[in-house]
Symmetry: C2
Subunit: 341 residues, 2 copies
């Protein structure tokens, strides 16, 4: 049914004749076309909540950059909002929550989100799916429960997330209760995304890296595993736990189909840990600031290191807004043209 199903085959560990490539934050400010669409909404939240605009920017990189997948334009923080904690996105500061979680009563007051609470995302997925006309797969996503908890406690971004970590150390039972509610909400949300057309799901544990190894397993991975167990019978799931360098082997033991890697991970090392599962990543986004010769050379080296099968090419993090668009395109073209594995 999909005209280009390279991503789906790579995720499932099936043979591919060419490595699929997409980019985290490909629907983003790196494209002037995105910025033009973004200007039509009064603010970020309204932009996210507008299915027509969200579908428009989701499809842009498929045609402009030639990537092998679309990823629905949204934000991981729609889940806290649907559970009862609205946020604002403050220019050049990031997210900010007026109300945060402080105690058991705050947690009990939270609503377990249903897919219908996030109808605007479902509409955006349906619209995108229709407009994509089966050209490439459509990726859905949500934040990992730990990352969502971190924002709910901290109330904003943070270098250390020390308030959220303090909560884990001082109120572990409450933390688990909150993680259970976030996990239940995320499963409802992702089942809705699949019903609305998502072909693959990615879990973003953006703040895995601030946790110790034991805390990552206790407070993050077991909840991602629950989500995988609920979603992987429907569509393949990718786990991307940024900076959890020690966890590849344990992530590979979940029911996920592929493992996202940040740019500090050695591809050969990851292969020894991944138990045959598909790997995704992991170019340093800053490589795309380099000259064309360097971009091509480093991309070729990465492709050789990962090999052609069981691999989805991507960056190790999202695109930065000031990367040159033509360099981003060069990266995608280089991956698609490469044959010297």
């Amino acid at each position: 049914m999909l005209k280009n199903d390279l991503l789906m085959r790579a995720a499932k560990g099936e043979f591919v004749e060419r490595v699929p490539v997409w980019l985290m934050r490909q629907a983003g400010r790196v494209l002037p076309e995105y910025r033009a669409t973004r200007a039509k909404a009064a603010n970020f939240i309204e932009f996210v909540k507008n299915p027509e605009l969200a579908a428009e920017v989701t499809i842009q990189p498929v045609h402009i950059l030639g990537v092998d997948a679309a990823i629905i334009f949204s934000d991981i923080l729609v889940i806290p909002e649907a559970m009862g904690l609205p946020y604002q996105m403050i220019e050049s500061k990031g997210p900010w929550f007026e109300k945060t979680i402080k105690n058991a009563a705050d947690i009990e007051a939270l609503h377990i989100a249903e897919a219908d609470d996030l109808g605007y995302v479902m509409q955006a997925l349906q619209l995108t799916k229709k407009q994509l006309n089966n050209e490439v797969p459509l990726i859905g996503f949500c934040g990992a429960p730990w990352t969502i908890l971190a924002y709910m406690i901290e109330g904003s971004g943070s270098k250390t997330f020390s308030k959220a970590k303090q909560f884990l150390y001082t109120q572990p039972q409450l933390a688990h209760r909150l993680l259970e509610k976030i996990t239940a909400s995320s499963i409802n949300y992702l089942k809705g995304q699949v019903a609305a057309g998502a072909d693959l799901i990615q879990l973003f544990d953006s703040w895995a890296g601030v946790l110790s190894e034991t805390h990552f397993y206790e407070f993050s991975l077991q909840y991602m595993q629950q989500i995988c167990d609920a979603i992987s019978p429907l569509v393949p799931v990718t786990i991307f736990a940024k900076d959890a360098h020690y966890a590849i082997e344990r992530i590979a033991q979940t029911s996920c189909s592929s493992i996202g890697l940040d740019w500090t991970i050695n591809p050969h090392h990851a292969r020894t840990q991944a138990n045959g599962k598909t790997l995704q990543g992991n170019a340093d986004p800053c490589l795309l600031y380099a000259n064309e010769t360097t971009i091509v050379k480093e991309t070729h080296a990465m492709l050789k290191d990962f090999g052609k099968q069981n691999y989805i090419c991507n960056l190790g993090h999202g695109l930065y807004p000031d990367l040159p668009k033509e360099h981003v395109k060069l990266f995608v073209d280089t991956v698609k043209a490469f044959t010297q594995y």
Copy 2:
């Protein structure tokens, strides 16, 4: 000569009857006594440049917390200042440079710092050494050349240091020229610190973690190695490359005597990589938010994991200002009382 030389023996891999313990940022806001001394200076820069006040806060944790070493109170950014790039420390924002490095002319205009350019640090060390009366060793330090370059280019803290990384990708020759000048300045500075009384030197590569593995070796480790080669014939050197989880084996191949570890590193894994060198670390600072039972239990587990010999107990990062002082003291006391290795 030193009444308590546990740190020195552990750093050199010699037998210790008890594990030495000190804490990164022990001379800091976690102590009310520090905040009282800090209030005597008009701003952070004047505080750093006042040898009497610097000596006072350097010694405080030795008596208040009972740690086995003092670390001179200063800032890694005194090196850019001595080279010609002054900085300000902006409350709740961090460091800020009016002038940054943009091109070859900016780099050529930089001065190679001599120890005399940092006379106030030398005076603070001499004063501290005298007032410490050989109770415990005195640690000197500087930033790793890559971390210093990162601030010189970026002009402030950053989540991604993408400007500094862009410089490495687009101007590698200029980056090496700048790293050479920073390295030469750092060697002069550290030789002066040793002459002024530092018993051990720690290199802080605070932003190692934003680099890819190949960039870490090319732009960071080789310069730390040059510093080690110049300083290790004089006093032991510790390398702390935060978040460079893949690099322990390569760091162990330098002439450093000990290797600092952040809290994401598994102690047993580190032992297999460190080729017998001493390890330092690595409790999660947020552990000290927990209740007393948890602090004691987790600290005991860490001590057992690292073992008694070739080990310096510390956190995996600096103390956070809002950690309870009595919990910090409990951590130190727990390490000193533990015998069940």
